[in-house]
C-alpha cells in the first residue's frame, strides 16, 4: 500500500434496522499512530459504527478499507489477520481458559507453534501487568481484570490498530488511571487506537482527535478540547431548549 494511505478508512457507512437508520452515511479516516476518541450521546449509533469497523457487522452501503484492502464484507477473522484487534463492550473472555490460555488464543494467530505462542503470550502478559493472575481461570476474574485481559488478548494478535469498546466503563477512578496508563503504553508501541468511551475525561486526556457521533452521523471532529466547546456538540449532549409556551 502507498505510504500515505490511511490505516483505516470508512466511507458513507449506512446501517439501517428496518426504517431506522442507526448509522446514516458516516465517514471516518484514521491515520497511522492516531488515538481517536469516538463519542456521542446515547443512541447516536457509535456502537453500530464501531462494529462495522471491527468487521462484526456488515454495512448496507458504504465501504471500509483496512491497510488498503477492501474489508467491507470481510469476516472478523480476516480483519484480525489484517492487523485489527478489538475489545468488547461486555467482556467476552473464554471463561473456561486461564488468563495465559486466553492470551495464547490471540498469540496463535501469528505463531502457529505452541511454544512460540506461549512465549509471545508471556511478553503480552508482562506488558499488560497480568502476571500475578496468569494462572487464574478467567471465568473467576472480576470485570476490571477481564477488560484488561481482553486488551491483552487482542494485543497478542499483534494488531496495527486496536478498537476499544468502552474498555473503561464502570471502572473505579484508580482502575481508570491504570487503564489510561496501559493505553498510553500501547500507543507508544506504535499501535493506532480507536476508543469508544462515555467518560469524557478519558477522551480529553488520551485522544488526539475526538469524533462526535450524533443521529448516525459524524457531526464534529478535531482536538477534544476544541470539540467539546463546539456549540453543535454541546447541543447534541445537553439538548436544545424547545420553542414552546412559557411554563405555567
Amino acid at each position: 500500500m502507498p505510504a500515505d494511505a490511511p490505516l483505516l478508512e470508512a466511507r458513507d457507512i449506512v446501517v439501517a434496522f428496518g426504517s431506522f437508520r442507526a448509522v446514516d452515511g458516516a465517514s471516518l479516516t484514521i491515520g497511522k499512530g492516531e488515538i481517536i476518541g469516538l463519542i456521542g450521546p446515547n443512541g447516536a449509533g457509535k456502537s453500530t459504527f464501531f462494529n462495522c469497523l471491527a468487521g462484526d457487522r456488515q454495512p448496507q452501503s458504504g465501504s471500509i478499507h483496512l491497510r488498503g484492502h477492501d474489508v467491507t464484507r470481510a469476516s472478523p477473522e480476516e480483519h484480525a489477520r489484517l492487523g485489527l484487534g478489538r475489545s468488547w463492550q461486555v467482556p467476552a473472555v473464554f471463561d473456561d481458559l486461564s488468563v495465559r490460555e486466553n492470551v495464547m488464543v490471540g498469540a496463535f494467530l501469528r505463531h502457529p507453534r505452541t511454544a512460540d505462542a506461549a512465549a509471545a503470550a508471556e511478553q503480552v502478559i508482562d506488558f499488560t501487568g497480568l502476571r500475578p493472575i496468569a494462572e487464574a481461570r478467567s471465568g473467576s476474574l472480576g470485570t476490571p481484570a477481564r477488560k484488561r485481559l481482553e486488551i491483552a488478548r487482542a494485543l497478542a494478535t499483534e494488531p496495527e490498530i486496536l478498537l476499544l469498546d468502552e474498555a473503561l466503563a464502570g471502572l473505579t477512578p484508580t482502575e481508570v488511571r491504570a487503564a489510561i496508563e496501559l493505553v498510553r503504553r500501547i500507543h507508544a508501541r506504535g499501535i493506532t487506537l480507536v476508543i469508544v468511551e462515555h467518560v469524557m475525561e478519558v477522551i480529553l486526556s488520551l485522544a488526539d482527535r475526538a469524533v462526535v457521533f450524533h443521529q448516525g452521523k459524524v457531526i464534529a471532529q478535531g482536538p477534544p478540547r476544541e470539540v467539546v466547546q463546539d456549540p453543535g456538540v454541546i447541543e447534541a449532549y445537553l439538548g436544545r431548549s424547545l420553542s414552546r409556551k412559557a411554563r405555567a
Binding site: A54, G55, D56, S75, P76, E77, H79, A80, R81, G85, R86, W88, A92, V93, F94, D95, D96, L97, E101, M104, V105, G106, F108, L109, P112, R113, T114, A117, R153, A154, A156, T157
Partner: protein
Amino acid sequence: MMPAATRFAGRWVFAVLVVAALLAWPLFVEDQFYQRVGALVMLAALSASAWNLVGGYAGQISIGHVLFFGCGAYASLLGFTWFEWAPILGAPFGIALSLLLALVVGGPTLRLKGHYFSMATIALAELARIIVTNAPVLGGAVGVSGPAMPRSVLDLSFISPLPYYYIFGTVLAVLLLFTWWMNRSRMGFYLRAIRGQERAARSLGVPAQRYKMYAYLVSAGFTSVAGSLYAAMLGFVDPDSGFGILLSVKMVIAAALGGAGTLFGPLVGAAILVPLEEITNAMFGGGGTGITYVVYGAIIVFISRFAPGGLAEILSRFQAWRARRAG
C-alpha cells in the same frame, strides 16, 4: 501446597499406575462377564471420547453421532456380506464414508447454533436409519451379519472378550493421545475458544467454521472405527444397533457424566454407565431394560439439575473446597 515439580511427577506416576492397572486388570478377573463389561467400557469410552472432540471441546452438541458409528459398523459387515472380506477390511471404507458425509453435511450443519445444530444432527442420523432400514441391499430391517465361523485373526472373532478389550483400549489410547496433543496445540485452544465465545474467537483471527470442521472430521473418523470394531465383535448389526438414536445419546451421556471437554471424562463416564447398564440387565434378565434406563435417566436428570459440568465439576468443586479449607 506441593511444589509444582512434585505435583508434576506425582501426576505422571499416577498416570502410569492407572495405565498399568487398565492393562492388567482383565488378567486377574476370571469371570468372562466382567471381562466383557471391560471391553464394552473401552468401546463406550472410545465413542464418547470421539464425540467429546466435537461436543466437549468445540461445544457443538451433536446428538446424531451414531451416523458415523453406523457407517463404520455397516462398512465392516457389508464388506463381508458382499465380498467375503474380513470385517476389519471394511473399516477404512467406513472411515472414508464418514469423512465424506461429515464434509458434506458438516458445512451447513456446523453453521447452526445451539439447539438447531443438535436437531439437525438428530435428523441426519434418523434419515440414515430409515434409509438403511428400507434398503434391502444394506440388509434392510433385518441387518447384516459377519462370518459365522472365524476364518483368520483378521475376522476379529474371538470367544474371549479379552482381545476386544485390548483392541478397543489401543484405539482409545490413540484417540486420547491425539486429544491430549490437540488440547495443547493451536487446534485445542481454538476449539475451546469457539466453545466459549465464538464471536470473540473470530475477532482474534480464529477461523471458527474451519476448526469446527476439523474437529467434526476427526471425531467422525474415530466414531466410525468404534462402529467397525463393535460390529466385528458382535458379528451382527441392524438399523437400531447401528443407527439408533439411543446410541448417540449414550455417547453424550457418558461424556457429560464424566465431564464434557475433559480428557478422561468420557472414560470415567463410560466406566460408570456401562457396568451399571450391564449389571442391572444381568440382574433383571431380559425385562431389565426398563429399569436400567430408568436408573440411567434418573442419573442424568440428577446430574443436569445439580452438577451440569459432570463429575469433573464435582471434583473441581471438591478441590476448591479443600483448597479453601487448607488456605
